[in-house]
């Protein structure tokens, strides 16, 4: 009787360990609901879906640590900077474009091009 109890505890432990092993497989990046919200925005562009999309970008930045890489996923800072640019917040746009290329040097060429465009726009405004 006692050995049966030990056996059942043992079995339970093994199963628990095996199952927890599955759930600890952390993804490389924490994208949150980015893909779902991007899809919702494409399906129907409303002020609400646009806001949800921006929120999901901010979520990726705030919760980047909960991932294997601990990094903000590729393109997220760039996307957020682009939203700021469209909203006329040039300074914030440049800030985010700079962060994108700092984390991912692969983006340097493209981000510099965007930053130059924003700066050119600003100079035009000053005239």
């Amino acid at each position: 009787m006692k050995s049966l109890k030990v056996l059942s505890i043992f079995t339970f432990t093994v199963i628990t360990l095996a199952m927890s092993g599955c759930s600890t497989h952390t993804p490389l990046y924490n994208y949150g609901e980015y893909s779902e919200n991007y899809y919702a925005l494409k399906k129907e562009a409303t002020p609400e879906s646009a806001q949800e999309y921006q929120k999901s970008l901010e979520y990726c930045i705030e919760n980047a640590k909960e991932s294997r890489s601990k990094r903000v996923p590729p393109g997220i800072y760039a996307n957020l900077g682009y939203l700021h640019l469209k909203a006329g917040q040039n300074k914030k746009a440049i800030e985010n474009f700079t962060k994108e290329k700092t984390i991912y040097p692969e983006a340097t060429f493209f981000m510099d091009k965007m930053i130059n465009k924003v700066e050119a726009l600003e100079q035009e405004d000053e005239k």
Partner: protein
């Protein structure tokens, strides 16, 4: 007597193995043997182009577009932000045109600094209605082309086919038949193609050699995958 019997067993077993080998199941290749150029050129960044859509559904393209970045980034590549890239291409007047797909690959290096370009093609995105069943099929073809040499570095296809009819056995009575027809219509309306597009993506992505941001970078040459190259008959 006994040894004779076991010898017979072995012979039978061997024969079974040989025969089963004859039926054409999938053949396997490795990432290293199938896509050597990925390991030679080692692209770090992928420029995701707007998908080509040859399916019957016109909206498929915009919806599918939202599913591509994540899986390729998760495989360890820098993926350019598709929304921004798309807008830049629209401003240049090449988005959604034949021009885009016929541009020399090095143009994408000149404009974005991308090491490689990712082409995707939606070959199937449709629901086939029948009276008692409906099937949803999503099929995606993907390939990576180098912006330095214009060579194709990788190509694979992912397909998902789902039976949406659901419901239990109706037993053939008229009332049961009606219930099933209604159930089919309801399930079809609720079917979200994008969910299945993501599944199709996961079926093709596993064949891709992982990129520089992945822990297994340059160590997955021996990983096996189903051979999709058409056989010469």
């Amino acid at each position: 007597m006994r040894s004779k019997k076991s010898a017979l067993y072995i012979a039978l077993l061997t024969l079974t193995f040989i025969l089963s080998g004859c039926t054409a199941g999938p053949t396997y290749v490795t990432k290293g043997s199938e896509f050597p150029k990925m390991y030679e050129q080692q692209p770090r960044s992928l420029l995701i182009l707007p998908p080509m859509n040859i399916s019957t559904d016109a909206e498929a393209k915009d919806y599918y577009m939202t599913t591509i970045e994540m899986p390729f980034a998760m495989m360890g590549y820098y993926t350019f932000p598709v929304e921004m890239v798309g807008d830049v291409m629209k401003q240049e007047g090449v988005y959604d045109t034949e021009i885009l797909y016929n541009l020399p690959a090095n143009k994408f290096y000149d404009y974005f600094g991308a090491d490689a370009v990712l082409f995707t093609k939606i070959t199937k995105w449709d629901l086939s209605y029948m009276v008692l069943a409906s099937t949803l099929t999503v099929a995606i073809e993907a390939k990576i082309v180098s912006t330095k040499t214009s060579e194709e570095l990788w190509r694979y296809t992912g397909m998902v086919r789902v039976d949406l009819s659901g419901g239990g056995d109706s037993g053939g009575s008229m009332a049961g038949l009606l219930i099933k027809v209604v159930a089919t219509a309801v399930n079809s309306a609720a079917a979200d193609y994008v969910t299945y597009a993501r599944q199709a993506n996961s079926r093709l992505i596993y064949s891709l050699p992982v990129g520089p941001y992945h822990e297994a970078y340059m160590q997955d040459q021996n990983m096996q995958l189903v051979d999709q190259t058409p056989k010469d008959q």
